[in-house]
């Protein structure tokens, strides 16, 4: 209230306001053309405001919905990833089971839990140990071919020396022509089939398999495929490059050969 204006000043306006309010209520009680028109007009005006307000509400709802959907999306993404992973694992395991059933070996399935690359040895750690009746020098394979051999065996963990290791050697032969040699690795993605005499029958695309001449590796395991054959001017042997049958980058489940059926 402004200074100098007493209650009577406002009383006049309050009286007028009350009179007008009562009059409006009385007018609204009519059911005539004018009131219908006003009601219609008010409904239109309110409709516009409601419409605008609904946009405002929609904005806040959208933010909430967006958060919710993002959360759901993330959850579905994770579920989807897990399911894809399970599907792939399922596929791999099926292959392994098929391999296990078809072959002549007694196998124990296990999982690769770590890969390490040391200066003197390349190996992977397997989730299997002497508690599972495995021992040193047992051969490790996958359905596609030779992985390596166990060289350290703990109670529930073992180290497997893989084909791509400088100290790894395995006696092998060309499957088609039976030409023999020793498989080794000197770095890179490929192995070498050494000590195959010049002029031997070796072609690109030939499979290299284990010969079974050593005490460790049984015969017939795929080692790799010949991808390069050269005969150097000097020396007695051919230079044969082999692409390993196993993709060591995606190695996850493997088998340890524990015996022959």
């Amino acid at each position: 209230m402004k200074p100098g204006r007493n209650l009577i000043f406002y009383k006049d306006y309050l009286t007028l306001g009350a009179a007008l309010l009562i009059s409006i209520i009385l007018m609204a009680s009519n059911n005539n053309r004018q009131i219908e028109y006003v009601k219609l007009w008010l409904a239109n005006v309110l409709g516009v405001f409601q419409n605008e307000w609904s946009y405002v509400q929609l904005y806040f709802d959208l933010k909430e919905k967006n958060d919710l959907l993002r959360k759901e999306n993330m959850q579905l993404f994770l579920e989807n990833s897990a399911m894809q992973e399970m599907a792939l694992e399922n596929k791999r395991l099926k292959e392994l089971i098929g391999f296990n059933e078809k072959g002549n070996f007694q196998l124990k399935a296990t999982r690769v839990i770590a890969k390490q690359k040391k200066s003197f040895i390349n190996d992977v750690i397997l989730e299997i140990g002497f508690a599972d009746s495995v021992s040193r020098n047992m051969v490790v394979v996958v359905p596609t071919g030779l992985v390596g051999k166990l060289y350290q065996v703990g109670k529930s963990r073992s180290n497997c020396q893989i084909l791509l290791d400088q100290n790894f050697r395995v006696s092998a032969k060309i499957q088609r022509s039976r030409e023999k040699g020793i498989v080794g690795w000197k770095g890179g993605k490929f192995c070498l089939l050494n000590e195959v005499p010049k002029h031997s029958d070796v072609k690109i695309g030939d499979w290299v398999i284990t010969s079974g001449y050593g005490e460790i590796f049984p015969a017939g395991l795929r080692v790799g495929r010949v991808v390069g054959v050269t005969e150097p001017a000097r020396g007695l042997f051919m230079e044969i490059k082999i692409k390993p049958a196993v993709n060591f980058d995606i190695l996850e489940e493997v088998f340890v050969i524990t015996g022959i059926k």
Binding site: T15, A19, L20, I22, S23, L26, M27, A28, S29, N30
Partner: protein, 165 residues
């Protein structure tokens, strides 16, 4: 003037308006005698009292005459309240001032009244203005001028020194 006189005069005017006014209608245009009554009182009274008189007079008029219940009460309340702003300190009003004040007040009243009354109808604004608002304003003003000459004491203020507070 006592309240009884107010009431008696009001009902006489109401009787004339509801029963005899058609006798003096010109092309269906009739003056609003109750409006004149309210405006005369508004030149004599406080704002709140003028508003209450306007409201009461309009409400009774609604009961007896109207086709739109509450509209007269609404408009007479406004007219009574606005009339107070035309009060003068002098005890008597000059005809010119009186006529001008009534012209303005009656026109405002008629304009708003007729606009509300014509809501939803198909009559255009200019037709409404020239065939209803303006003729009715002048006819009502004529009645107010007649009152001015017939009952000059009615315009003597009821408030010492005017009621413009």
């Amino acid at each position: 003037m006592s309240i009884i006189k107010y009431v008696v005069i009001y009902f006489i005017l109401l009787f004339v308006e509801t029963n005899l006014l058609h006798l003096i209608s010109i092309k269906n245009i009739t003056p609003d005698l109750i409006l004149v009554y309210v405006l005369i009182f508004s030149l004599r009274e406080h704002k709140s009292k003028a508003a209450i008189i306007g409201f009461s007079a309009g409400l009774i008029q609604d009961v007896f005459t109207t086709k739109f219940f509450g509209l007269s009460a609404f408009m007479k309340s406004i007219a009574g309240f606005l009339g107070v702003f035309f009060q003068q300190k002098r005890n008597e009003y000059k005809l010119l001032y009186y006529s001008t004040a009534f012209l303005v007040l009656i026109f405002i009243h008629e304009l708003i009244y007729q606009l509300i009354y014509s809501l939803g109808g198909d009559i255009g604004f200019w037709n409404l203005l020239f065939y209803s608002i303006v003729p009715r304003t002048f006819y009502t003003l004529a009645m107010a001028v007649i009152f001015y000459f017939i009952f000059p004491p009615a315009l003597r203020r009821n408030i010492a020194g005017g009621a413009k507070e």
